[in-house]
């Protein structure tokens, strides 16, 4: 061993030991020897949309930004809510007052101290911006005035401070889901007002010197639509930033070249930032000698067939047998085989409409409406519609995409084969499809949802309650609504059983025909540890490490 390599090995061992003590979420072992070059490289297919927390909505943006920004609370890799900028938080007995006690040593990456005013500024700014996730502040008193058109107030009246490190949020009604929404980040992340003012409201985050936040990593270079580079913040206020010294991201649209470059040693990971290798590559790895490098994780997306409850043959109690027949007639294993490249990109949905891996998932096989039984389906269908008049001219409507087309064509074939029903297909552009679906125009249609945060409230209030804006079906069950309204007000550990009961009501009412849950694949080199993700996001970069290889 040369002197240089001896030093590398020694420093690697020391670093590994330090990591063992420092990283809560990662689990390095003392036997690990870190490589001298702690660089992680991975590809994405398009540049990030925005790093401005007030405007973020894409999963890819969140996967980066969660390493740059922080809010009072966050999810750990296991999905548990833990303190982040707050040392602790209190909730009043009536669940209407949340008090966040901020840590007193927090600093932005430019050295500016973080105080209660920074959090209040960031939240007010995001609420006033009115973008996709501004509604996360809807429980706070005064949100209606800030979100009015035009706004009648510029700040949330229910958001105040009692001292430089204590923020109090008064809610207009209990909201048990609120901490989950805050923990996801985005609008709840804290930014530096001085920087935003100096660099410009719209552009402050676009350059490395403008993208100032409190998290363990910072952007060091960005070539728009070509590459991004990140590095740990020196002397980060939170302590250790982990082993990684550089993250390099290439923007390359062609998925096939990602894996070629991965196999050339050009990338350590493929799959971070909500990206996916091609189905062919996934299948090749599943069948090959490098199978251990591939992990298939549940994702946050669920897809199903929607039935109209307001018009057409499937509406109301009279349409229930028809809905049951149509869902029972779908062989999900075949569907996944055909439409998701033999299951490389999704798995059959058998545990309810809430996606696998999220709070509220009922468990594999728990949804009786997803069981395939062609004979029973046909018998039920013939009892419901003996003359075939109810389904005459029936159309399945979807928005055009390669996967949606495969799904639609397979459903059409299965309904024809298993029920003897001819269903026409109607493919529409996204704008027309989504707009009309929100107006409950379609009788039989494609539906899907990606969770905004890990709480069943997100699904029920957007999709399944009587007033849900993205329902598409017009389903309305007052008993279920009451149950959900009560559950929404309680903390998740007390409300989960209510949400599960509500889902069982939906199964009894056959609200939709579950199809599949999406999968997030990861290809990770064997010498990279701490990589992967949960159903919601990639594991934090602080836990990544490259071993000698």
């Amino acid at each position: 061993m040369t002197q240089r390599s001896g030093w590398k090995a020694l420093s690697g061992t020391v670093l590994a030991t330090l990591l063992l003590a420092a990283c809560g979420n990662s689990t390095p072992t003392s036997s690990e020897t870190l490589a001298a070059d702690q660089t992680i490289r991975f590809p994405i297919n398009d540049d990030i949309g925005t790093f401005d927390p007030a405007h973020q909505s894409a999963l890819v943006d969140f996967d980066f930004a969660q390493n740059i920004f922080q809010g009072p609370v966050k999810f750990d890799n296991a999905g548990k809510i833990i303190p982040d900028l707050a040392s602790k938080w209190d909730v009043s007995a009536d669940a209407l007052t949340y008090t966040f006690h901020l840590k007193q040593n927090i600093k932005f990456s430019n050295g500016d101290p973080v105080k209660a005013d920074d959090l209040i500024y960031s939240w007010n700014r995001a609420a006033l911006a009115g973008d996709a996730y501004a509604g996360n502040f809807s429980p706070i008193v005064g949100f209606d005035a800030v979100s009015a058109t035009p706004p009648t107030a510029k700040t949330l009246s229910g958001l105040t401070k009692t001292d430089d490190y204590t923020v109090v949020a008064k809610l207009s009604a209990p909201a048990g889901w609120w901490l989950s929404a805050l923990a996801l980040g985005g609008v709840s992340w804290v930014i530096d007002q001085k920087v935003v003012t100096a660099k410009g409201e719209d552009t402050w985050w676009t350059t490395p010197d403008g993208l100032v936040a409190t998290g363990p990593f910072k952007m060091t270079a960005r070539v728009p639509k070509a590459s991004l580079d990140f590095a740990p913040v020196a002397n980060w206020w939170g302590g250790s930033t982990g082993a990684i010294k550089k993250i390099h991201v290439d923007v390359i649209a062609d998925q096939a070249s990602w894996v070629t470059k991965y196999e050339q040693g050009g990338y350590e990971i493929v799959g971070y930032a909500n990206m996916s290798p091609t189905a062919e590559d996934i299948l090749r790895y599943q069948a090959g000698t490098h199978k251990a490098e591939l992990t298939l994780n549940p994702s946050v997306r669920s897809s199903w067939v929607g039935f109209s409850f307001v018009k057409g043959p499937f509406a109301g109690d009279a349409g229930k047998d028809g809905r049951s027949a149509f869902t029972m007639a779908i062989d999900r294993a075949q569907l996944v085989d055909v439409a998701c490249a033999k299951g490389a990109q999704c798995t059959p949905a058998t545990g309810g409409l809430i996606a696998k891996g999220l709070k509220g998932y009922l468990g594999d096989g728990a949804d009786s409406t997803s069981k395939f039984d062609a004979a029973a389906a046909k018998a039920l269908y013939q009892k419901w519609d003996p003359t075939g008049s109810k389904v005459k001219g029936l159309k399945y409507t979807y928005n055009t995409s390669a996967t949606n087309k495969l799904v639609a064509e397979n459903l059409q074939a299965q309904w024809k084969q298993n029920l003897g029903v001819t269903v026409d297909l109607e493919a529409l552009d996204r704008q027309t499809f989504f707009s009309n679906r929100d107006k409950k125009t379609y009788v039989l249609f494609r539906h899907s949802w990606s969770a905004d945060y890990d709480h069943p409230q997100d699904w029920f209030d957007n999709l399944f309650t009587c007033s849900a804006g993205s329902s598409g079906s017009g389903y309305c069950n007052k008993t279920m609504d009451d149950l959900v309204t009560k559950a929404d007000q309680k903390p998740i550990d007390q409300s989960l059983s209510d949400y599960i009961s509500a889902q069982k009501m939906m199964i009894a009412d056959v609200v939709g025909a579950p199809l599949f849950y999406s999968i997030q694949p990861y290809l990770v080199k064997p010498y990279v540890k701490g990589a992967g993700g949960n159903a919601f996001f990639d594991y934090y970069w602080t836990g990544l490490r490259v071993l000698t290889h």
Binding site: D47, G49, D52, A134, V223, A253, T260, E263, Q264, W449
Partner: protein
Amino acid sequence: MTRGTLIYIIQRLLLITFTAVAISSIVFIGEHALLPGDAFVSERPHNPRELALLLHHFNLDLPLPQQYQLWVTGVLHGDLGESLVNRGVQITPLLVRELGTSLELGAAALIFTVGVGLTLGLFAALKQNTWIDYVASSTAVVGYSMPSFVIATLLVLVTGKLFYIWTNGAFYYEIGWGKPTQILVPAIALGFPYASIVARLTRASMLEVIRQDYVRTAWAKGLRPRIVIIRHALRNALIPVITILGPLATGILTGVVVIENIFGIPGLGKEFIDSILNRDYNIVIGVFTFYAALVGLVNLGVDLLYPVLDPRIRY
């Protein structure tokens, strides 16, 4: 440069500007008035205020004539606006950078095209009906018959994957862009079909020229073969080749759309596809504007080459 040439260049530049603005205006109006959907469509419906703020930010809440006026004013000031999808990304510097990348690739492909095409054509003509002619002509036929995306995919497979495996990582084409070694394989993929055209044309042209009386005279004078072939024969044989350089260079520029996407090169061609798929209309218009101007400029450049090779041509 003569006064006539200068006037010709100015006239052509004005025409190119007019063409670029006209083409991008058609795209602008087509996108805004005819196409359904926009970059803001998502499964999660925007609340009306959020959508209003977005539209206002990009001037999309203004009447179409006013939007057009603002856009034309911006274009004439070199400002193509901001990306609808990637917030904060200014389009003009983005496309200028990407144009540079595409020009690098295009220039490398053009050098390959002319170099390899001329060499193959020349040897095929000089060694007519020998094995050299057959090999060169067959290579040209293969290149001429295969679309560049097939060649590109095969090259990625062979040089990117198989070479890596066969040489255990010692010698291979590294996917990506930025290193000098990364330009060769995409340039070959892009230039090979065009090199085949040049080769066939050069061979035919040379075969015709070397039978001319003045070439025979040159041989009879006892000139060295290199002088006869290069100075007397090839120079005249090049005229038809130069004639197709315009469409050929344009073909290479448009060909980068396919090649850049296959090789993951961050150029104008990749942007062309990405922006359409993302419905990033502002960038789509910008790319069209750049391409229109670029094609015009390339053709102008080729036209200016003619007088250099053929003194009879004057502007």
